[in-house]
Symmetry: C2
Subunit: 368 residues, 2 copies
């Protein structure tokens, strides 16, 4: 019985810290945003009429508050079994590495090929400690998650990255709570997950309030890396990486959909917003092929390519989930578009739970 | 006997990594310095005739390479007793926090009163884990060390910060080696210290080669915080914080000497280089008092304060060790000045060893 009371105190502690984290993040951002603009850490909001200058990389504030919250968990008596094995500490170390590198990326705009290296470097501490303690299983799977966020996806639409992250985080909490009731051996792992996710929701919410339409701040690569790494850490150390991946259905779809642009088969502008891409003729074979496949499935719409026309280019929408939504549901304003994307994310979380708890035996052999 | 062989392999491993770290740092800096200048992370070298623009904050490259070196130590079989207690991991976490915050300081020029908070935040993980594992002893002492480096001391003279750090680091290695021969119970702690210090020497050397007169890069607050935190971590976790402090005699002297300027009793320009400070009359009492005391000991020289003159200000040298050297030994060029400071640092290390191994019983009760 005492254990139950203590565990309840622990939960209060977590929730309290997260509320505090939320408030601190929310109050700190307006205080500090001028300093970011002063050193040119800012971007123009192209989707607004007057294109206001908005501070970038606010993820660093959010992530720093988060890390301090986690620091303060360390001496908690129940944390001993985490710190003993070094899991909690190595997870924090990896997270912080990712934040540091993400911030450096925001500052220097690191080239795509080096960018792929960053998450690898940042995950060294986690993988090393994991390897020392448990051997090698369950590691490889969630690594690609970290690439799914990041600028190539959604930058430019107010509130999308954080909104999606929040929905995924809430799904994880629900999933954790489903395990905490029983006397399942996975309880410990899911408690671990809650330690990381609840404060994450707190600080993200604090940032979300400034990033929601109309954005007064942008989150930067820093936030995307930070969020991606938080999910990777939780997936690996709480041993539910397969379930985790199910929450990323829209991101995985978006990544697969983006492949032609990521690999330069189709030209990729810096911001892939509603404007169209022009492709000079003649097109080479892989480009033609990918255009053919995608248009067969109705995933892209080629405009201005009349057979009779004399145009020496064809025009096509950008290959992102956002553009696909615009394609299917017609033009809409930025706010509505964001809400659409978030509803899609919620629906896909329902789908994930359905797959995980109804169809699980078809997909995985193990129960977690 | 096998243990001895393995320990030798470990040492080779450490030294190998450090050489690698040195080479990587040395080669990486010229590659990346253009990017730093592009985002205005640069400063003018006021001590050169043509005042060239030199990239700032190269400490971040040095520190990142260092942290990656440490990451790669984790799976080493002998590291288990470090990771088990979380010491190694929490030390890295604190170090990395300091690097992140130092870099942020370089970018935003954080105000002095907030600056004092940074090392406190960064040392939370270390202190927490230390508290969980060992209780509270041996902690408070080395904290002030971290303030001794940093911009208020030596910025602007090529090679001084790194040179001093290298001499301190080498002194620590010598001190560690003195303990490794015997079967002292402190062997473990000193091995721990070597794990941190040897790669630190490596990466610092790589940066030193670019920072030596004439500097092609500046090290930034990032390096100063990084170095300070490395020494603090080693001092705390290897339990020789008192010996450590002895290696900081010139820094401590400089700090005490700087007090009137740090606390604004005497005006403090941003760069306290050989130019003089003008103090408007009338002077208030604390200022007068500190000028009086310092000039009594011959530590400052008041120029232009003839009783008969009509000047409404007095002129005095800046309160730093560098200016004191110029005062005592006459004008010299930047390179000679740097060498003088470094010789002073070496001499004070000799003094430290003398105090530690000859006079120790007068100072400390315990032998370490
Ligand atoms: Mg970027
Ligand atoms: Mg600064």
């Amino acid at each position: 019985y005492i254990e139950q009371v203590l565990s309840r105190i622990m939960n209060l502690y977590k929730v309290g810290f997260s509320l505090l984290g939320c408030v601190i993040t929310w109050r700190l951002i307006p205080e500090l945003k001028e300093s970011f603009i002063k050193i040119n850490l800012s971007g123009k909001d192209f989707n607004k009429i007057n294109k206001p200058v908005v501070p970038e990389s606010m993820g660093i504030i959010c992530a720093t508050v988060y890390l301090i919250c986690l620091f303060l968990f360390i001496p908690f008596p129940f944390m001993e079994w985490f710190t003993d094995k070094g899991e909690f500490l190595s997870a924090m170390l990896s997270l912080q590495s990712m934040v540091l590198l993400g911030f450096v990326d925001d500052l220097f705009d690191i080239r795509w090929r080096y960018k792929l290296l960053l998450p690898t470097i940042a995950s060294i501490p986690l993988l090393m400690v994991y390897y020392v303690n448990f051997g090698e299983t369950h590691i490889v799977l969630p690594i690609p998650l970290r690439f799914l966020f990041g600028k190539y996806i959604d930058l430019g639409i107010n509130g999308v990255e954080i909104g999606q992250s929040l929905i995924i985080a809430i799904s994880i909490v629900i999933n954790d709570l489903l395990f905490l009731n029983g006397s399942d051996p996975a309880v410990e792992a899911h408690l671990f997950s809650l330690y990381f996710i609840i404060p994450f929701i707190g600080v993200s919410l604090g940032l979300f309030m400034h990033n929601w339409y109309p954005s007064r701040v942008f989150v930067g690569d820093t936030y995307c890396y930070f969020a991606g790494m938080t999910f990777a850490v939780v997936g690996i150390l709480a041993h539910f990486s397969k379930t985790m991946i199910l929450f990323f259905i829209p991101q995985i779809f978006n990544f697969a959909y983006s492949v032609p642009q990521l690999f330069k088969l189709v030209e990729c502008p810096r911001h892939r917003m509603p404007n169209k891409v022009k492709l000079q003729k003649p097109l080479n074979l892989p480009t033609l092929l990918s255009l053919k496949i995608f248009s067969t499935f109705g995933l892209i719409k080629i405009t201005k390519n009349d057979v009779g026309s004399n145009l020496d280019y064809i025009e096509v929408n950008n290959f992102t989930l956002l553009n696909l939504i615009l394609l299917k549901f017609g033009p809409m304003n930025e706010r509505t578009l964001t809400i659409c994307v978030l509803i899609l994310q919620v629906l896909s979380s329902f789908l994930a739970f359905f797959i995980r708890y109804r169809l699980v035996h078809l997909f995985y052999e193990k129960q977690y």
